[in-house]
Symmetry: C2
Subunit: 388 residues, 2 copies
């Protein structure tokens, strides 16, 4: 496996183990991005009104092919939280309605759901999952134990953020469909890390980031809503695209996407990102780094005297791996790792636990993980930042 | 007055008379923009979590000085429509409440207000203004004729879009204050075209674009809310910054600005834009082009057999000038002007009228207007696109 570090812009000298947070954009995608911005400034009116919208439609088409869905069913949004807000705002929750989710979701998602549930008297039901997860079946049983007659929507991550766990979304969505409950998958960490074929997953709603594992510049994400449900959701921002006389299909795009003046160049780079992944045989790249992620997990778990959060298989672990770490000062530990060892890795609070999460992508190598290992060993020995 | 065309990126050969639509970013500001984006990609986690927020705070401070307000009272938003949506969504309109506005507001603003008023049973009262406007006093009298005991908020443009008219917002806000009505000014065309000293205007709420007359890259705007009212307005997007335990001041910023992953580089260029304007003595540049705008107005009005929409003075006309034009195919006429004469100028519908609007900035010269004049003369003579 050829290391692709030279294709990325990440500053040399840093063991950058935090791809998961904000992605990282390879040079050719970044250059295309800035070219679009230059084209905009060379004739703003033509770009914003004539050429830009055409590029946008082409980009959406390329993304739809990549995601295996109809191009009329996805709109570009800034990030998955934006998509969640569109859904939660318009869901018309009633007092007593329940949103079934897990206790391992992204903090900003919890904030948004709590806000809209509090307003309406609905319940945001965070089903507690026993860690380590044992099997898909175990997960499904634990999750659906929270189901009641009031469950209106099921919300869960494709791959979680602080714990880095892949959830069996296809199975969960199938069960939801059977029961007539809307399914909504947060795919912030999905596309580019694992295959996302929307016609196979069959979630009613799927929001995903392109600026993480698809490696586009920041602020580039999408929201998929299946046709029958599109009419339910008003734009978060009412602007030129809004028309009270809503009709499904093409209007769905205008409705949510025409938001007045903004730089939408990040959306336009998606075809370049898809080409980049094709050129470098990304299915193999992802498989290689998934393997590296899984292989290293037992080593770090031993070092931190903890256990993997799930079986170390493709069912649960992709290119993100979290391990519980005992520290009372996670922010300080993270800063210490960066400043003293040039290791960029998040140390995050989730509930009453702290997790250290490494993520690997094409610019990483075993050396980065070895540097992390040496740093943790050193910190354990010479400071009290990590408890044993 | 030195022509600054070489500082801009606009393609030579085009008479670009549509600065008003999307601004145009000078080279040094654009280069700073793309440098920030590069810095982001060289170490995404440090930029997004450590350096970026510091730059953002510095930028907000510079903008606050420029606008003469407290840096804790402005938040960065994508565009003024976004600001309007924040306000309209959280205003808690009741059935019968009235929003007093004019019939010359921006179309997307009308759409947003109509949406929220329809939801609540409130009334969006578009006060009809007789054109041409005669005087400030005349405007104020006509506008406030729409005031009732139910008027909850007054909304008006600092400078209108399709008609390019400067409104006496200082006087209007003073009267609103006296009557205890919230005042909200849409300054999409304000800052950079006319002085915007928020402590002088004393609007309760002011939203402005930096990507138009302040010449930053697209997607860079601000929302000012005076301290006493900040607690009323929830973020449009609930994300990391949201905290149900809201307190005014610093929280206001986090609340609306922390929206998860996006490229906020456009916000960071504001100090560079302010420096650029200082360096080139922008007060004089604006005065020069305002004068050029006003001087040419009678010529075009005569050509189009119409009258100026207001007295041709600084009270009403800045660097935008609209004239009514008789055409049944405005979109086709606009395209024709661009394709056959390389004149970029908007021909816009507003209500049952059509307006042609030229806007002038530092890359323009009398030659551009002369080319427009020749083009219109030619089109009148040789086509039926303009009725006489």
């Amino acid at each position: 496996m050829q290391n692709l570090a030279s294709e990325f812009l990440i500053r040399p000298g840093i063991a950058y183990l935090n791809f998961g947070a904000f992605g990282a954009c390879p040079r050719p995608i970044f250059e295309r991005y800035q070219q679009y911005q230059l084209e905009l400034e060379q004739e703003p009116a033509q770009f914003m009104q004539v050429n830009g919208p055409q590029y946008l439609a082409q980009s959406r088409k390329a993304l739809a092919t990549y995601l295996n869905c109809d191009a009329d069913d996805i709109v570009y949004i800034t990030n998955p939280s934006y998509g969640l807000n569109i859904i939660a705002k318009s869901l018309q929750l009633q007092a007593g309605d329940e949103i079934l989710t897990t206790n391992l979701e992204y903090g900003a998602s919890d904030k948004a759901w709590n806000y809209y549930c509090k307003k309406s008297g609905a319940i945001y039901k965070r089903q507690s999952l026993r860690l380590p997860l044992e099997s898909k079946e175990d997960f499904i049983a634990q999750f659906f134990a929270g189901l009641t007659a009031n469950t209106k929507l099921i919300f869960l991550s494709h791959i979680t953020s602080s714990t880095g766990l892949r959830f069996p979304v296809e199975e969960i969505c199938a069960i939801a469909r059977e029961k007539g409950i809307i399914s909504f998958v947060d795919g912030a960490h999905g596309p580019g890390q694992v295959p996302v074929a929307l016609q196979k997953i069959q979630a009613d709603i799927y929001t995903g980031a392109c600026h993480k594992w698809m490696m586009t510049p920041k602020g580039s994400s999408f929201l998929y809503i299946q046709k029958e449900l599109q009419h339910l959701f008003d734009p978060l921002m009412i602007s030129w695209g809004y028309d009270p006389a809503f009709t499904a299909g093409k209007s769905f795009i205008e409705y949510h996407q025409q938001q007045g003046t903004r730089d939408f160049s990040a959306f336009l780079t998606i075809p370049t990102a898809i080409d980049f992944m094709k050129k470098h045989d990304w299915v193999n790249v992802a498989a290689h780094y998934r393997k590296l992620t899984q292989q290293n997990a037992p080593v770090f778990c031993e070092l931190l005297q903890t256990k993997p959060l799930a079986p170390l298989t493709d069912d649960f672990i992709g290119q993100l791996c979290s391990a519980e770490i005992k520290t009372s000062e996670p922010e300080k530990l993270q800063r210490h790792l960066f400043e003293n060892y040039q290791v960029e890795i998040p140390v995050m609070r989730h509930g009453d636990k702290i997790f250290m999460r490494y993520s690997l992508n094409a610019f990483n190598s075993q050396d980065d993980l070895d540097r992390l290992f040496a740093a943790i060993t050193d910190i354990k020995k010479n400071t009290n930042l990590i408890e044993s």
